[in-house]
Amino acid sequence: MTPRRFDRPGPGAPTPVRFPAIARETLDSGLGIWVVQHAPVPVATITLIVSRGTGDDPVDRHGLASLTGDLLDEGAGDRDAIQLADAFAGLGTQLEVDVGPDATALSVTTLSRVLGPVLALMADVVARPRLAAADFNRVRELRLNRLRQLSRSAATVADRMYVSAVFGTHAYGHGALGTTASLDAITLEDTREFWTRMYASSTATLIVVGDVQADEVVREARRAFGRWVGSIESGPRLTAPDAPPDPRVFLVDRPGAPQAELRLGHLGPPRQTPVYHALVGVNAVLGGQFTSRINRRLREEMGVTYGARTTFDFRRVGGAFSCDSSVDATAAADAVRDVLTEFDLIREGPVPDDELASAKASLTRGYVRNFETGGQIARAVAQIATHGLPDDTFDRFVPAIEAITAEQVQAAAEVFIRPADATIVVVGDAERSREALAAIGRPVVVSAPEF
């Protein structure tokens, strides 16, 4: 054996990333058809993006967008709820409906040979939902019970508390499901009106990625969606979130809980921010990866958590930055202090060269992994549709990350990581942690999110 055997090999040359081309066609109704040919397996991922979401919930009807989305496939066209599910299952697949803050996505992954029948079913769901009273009552009841169940999940409680504290009364400041009170207020008529006002072909995009030909997809889409016509205003309806920072400690009591669920952060910029890449760099150094500073500190040094992460939740007109973790109940206050210290440190000085180089390398060298499957490519294309991004977004990522400097990272952190503004949410045993949390020096309010 040569000594060289025990020298760790280097990472090799970087792998270039070329995002596949998107073929586009627009039907007379305004429905965009976006197709990416990606044919390693005979599979297609079909996603219909409707550019309305939980951000469009009326102030007194939180949960309406999500409830409406859920109701679409509870009966549509000639089929009731069970028949519709049977029809998708008979094609070997099922429909997923995801209602996010800025958009609603209806998705199916299936064998590409059943593209036509799947599109016909999806068209029924989006253009001819029954929105019937019996289905409405059943689904609303299930959602009320879902809310009850979630009120016992520490992670969900923390997310709710955090989102409402950070976004305040802004349309981004509530959970998709709404609350018991708002669901009680919603009527069948509300869902019908929401569907009429929000589900329009003029602002929708059908994305098909897989073993398909663009002209075939357009032909099938025209056949399936040709009768779906509706026009509404395009573009963002919401103003940027501007709730004042609330840097208090919100302590949600969970008597006897062996862990404390933590959220720390504040408002953040929208996806279209000009400093997007610098912030991706900030996040990679601070908390976006296993080897980032906060996970290293809380997990690998202190041993008080299974994991800690930071995230920029980039939305269309604004967003939030947060650090999430679940820590040993006895360590909650110390963990909060450690996270705030890391928030401070990344603002106070440039990231050392080797640390920045390492963070950048992991982002750029690993980028190619994001575009392996049709589902991954479809999600990337959906971002382009939802946020109005240019087509070269993913091709520009690697050179843009390579170009960021320690000064840019620090400058971005100074503006977008603000420990003094950070809201702190702790879901845990109040009796065990209240005193220690008070010693941090911020007001501690015992609170609870609305469910």
Partner: protein, 437 residues
């Protein structure tokens, strides 16, 4: 469907499987060790999983931990431990293949010199956090522990949870870890898959160079299957939850045994999704349940089959239990309808096509080749596996259900809100978890 491969066994016993798929500039590396919590002994539960954590902390020639150099090279990486096996994987850009293989070789051959008391203490604390976060602090999070303790006798390897009992984790020593490594972590008890943008001969040469010098270990005899008889037990567990939930559980066929695929299909037909019989009855029509699921968990020593339903407010677990047993009995007597059999078949065909989309990660092609190699000795068993599903008939589905899901001999567990024992199943005994206490 076939996934072409080349298999080569090194002199030290390491199985090496290479699958070329050059459509993306990616390489998946997967290492399976045929050891899991089933190989532990009472009093030292949780050791296999704690050991997996330590494997990321460093080895003799990479003492500084495994995430740093691999992430810098663009890798994603992870590992997991089950009752039956432990796996480790990296998905890397083509150019970092040698690095990924080198890292796996170093911890397979040179792990112990980097092991320290400080690392051990740190990862034991991390695992205790994982247990509290994932199980103890999550609604219904301990229900599976209660069920396994009810289904299996205390000396059966599936009696204890893979995450381990806190007292056992506290009692574990560095010497336990060393002994565990020597016993189970050697080439003859491992299987290595490289899948993706590689040239087979080239990568086999590299594997020989990097893994060849690792000494062979004592062969590990596989544990014999030990399928337990079903038992009739009625249990109550109080938890920090809102709504009472019913769990029905039976022992079932081992992985790949006759009846295993049938029960997997039966689970979907009975209780998964809106097309299932119980969804229609319990949630859609009668509205007495709000959540529903079923599953055949296929494992090496004994399978388990479960049906889980949460009661709608105002309805009892006894009501759910009666309706579920009635529907299971009807299925076991009449079998599924022809459309149900057809639906199960087309869903299986689609699921198998979707399973080969990713090279790496949990459930990617490399992981599946390893699973088939470790459990069946035949890496490309995709078609054989699918044929079990496609070949299932109304008769075999009926027979498997009637053979295994006897309503009179089930473990029935009700998890109810703390302080609300009146919501329990009739005639249930209150239990706690951990060591059968």
């Amino acid at each position: 469907m076939t996934v072409p491969y080349t298999r080569h066994t090194l002199a030290n016993g390491l199985d090496v499987i290479v699958h070329e798929d050059r459509r993306m500039p990616l390489v998946a590396v997967s290492v399976w060790y045929h050891v899991g919590s089933k190989n532990e002994v009472p009093g030292r539960t949780g050791l296999a999983h704690l050991f997996e954590h330590l494997m990321f902390e460093g080895s003799e020639h990479q003492p500084g931990g495994y995430f740093g150099p691999l992430q810098e090279a663009g890798a994603s990486l992870n590992g997991s431990t089950s009752a039956d096996r432990t796996n480790y994987w990296e998905l890397v850009p083509r150019s970092a293949r040698r690095l990924a293989l080198w890292m796996e070789a170093d911890r397979m051959g040179w792990f112990l010199p980097a092991l320290s008391e400080a690392r051990f203490e740190n990862q034991r604390a991390v695992v205790l956090n994982e247990r509290r976060q994932t199980y103890e602090n999550r609604p219904y999070g301990l229900a599976q522990f209660v069920l396994m303790e009810a289904l299996f006798p205390p000396d059966h390897p599936y009696y204890w949870p893979t995450i381990g009992e806190p007292a056992d984790l506290a009692a574990a020593t560095l010497e336990d870890v060393r002994a565990f490594f020597r016993r189970y972590y050697h080439p003859g008890n491992a299987s290595l898959v490289i899948a993706g943008d590689v040239d087979t001969d080239d990568v086999l040469r590299e594997v020989e160079e990097l893994f060849g010098p690792i000494p062979a270990g004592e062969p590990v005899a596989p544990l014999p299957a030990r399928v337990v008889p079903p038992v009739s037990r009625r249990l109550l567990y109080e938890d920090r939850v809102e709504l009472p939930r019913l769990y029905l559980a039976w022992p079932s066929p081992v992985l790949f045994a006759p009846g295993d695929a049938e029960l997997d299909l039966a689970a979907d037909l009975l209780a998964n999704g809106r097309t299932s019989r119980l969804y229609e009855r319990l949630i859609h029509d009668r509205r007495i349940a709000v959540e529903l699921a079923a599953g055949q968990t296929s494992r090496e020593l004994c399978g388990t089959f479960q049906i889980i339903a949460t009661a709608a407010p105002g309805h009892t677990l006894d009501e759910l239990e009666a309706t579920i047993h009635e529907e299971v009995a009807r299925f076991a007597h009449d079998g599924p309808t022809a459309p149900e059999v057809g639906r199960g078949r087309v869903q299986a065909e689609t699921a198998f096509a979707l399973r080969v989309q990713s090279l790496g990660g949990f459930g990617g092609k490399a992981d599946q080749l390893n699973a088939y190699n470790v459990y069946l000795g035949q890496p490309d068993s995709f078609d054989a596996d699918l044929s079990r599903y496609v070949g299932a008939t109304a008769v075999t589905l009926r027979d498997a259900t009637s053979a295994w899901l006897d309503p009179g001999r089930a473990v029935a567990l009700g998890v109810v809100p703390a302080g609300r024992s009146e919501l329990s199943l009739t005639g249930a005994t209150a239990v706690s978890v951990g060591g059968g206490a």
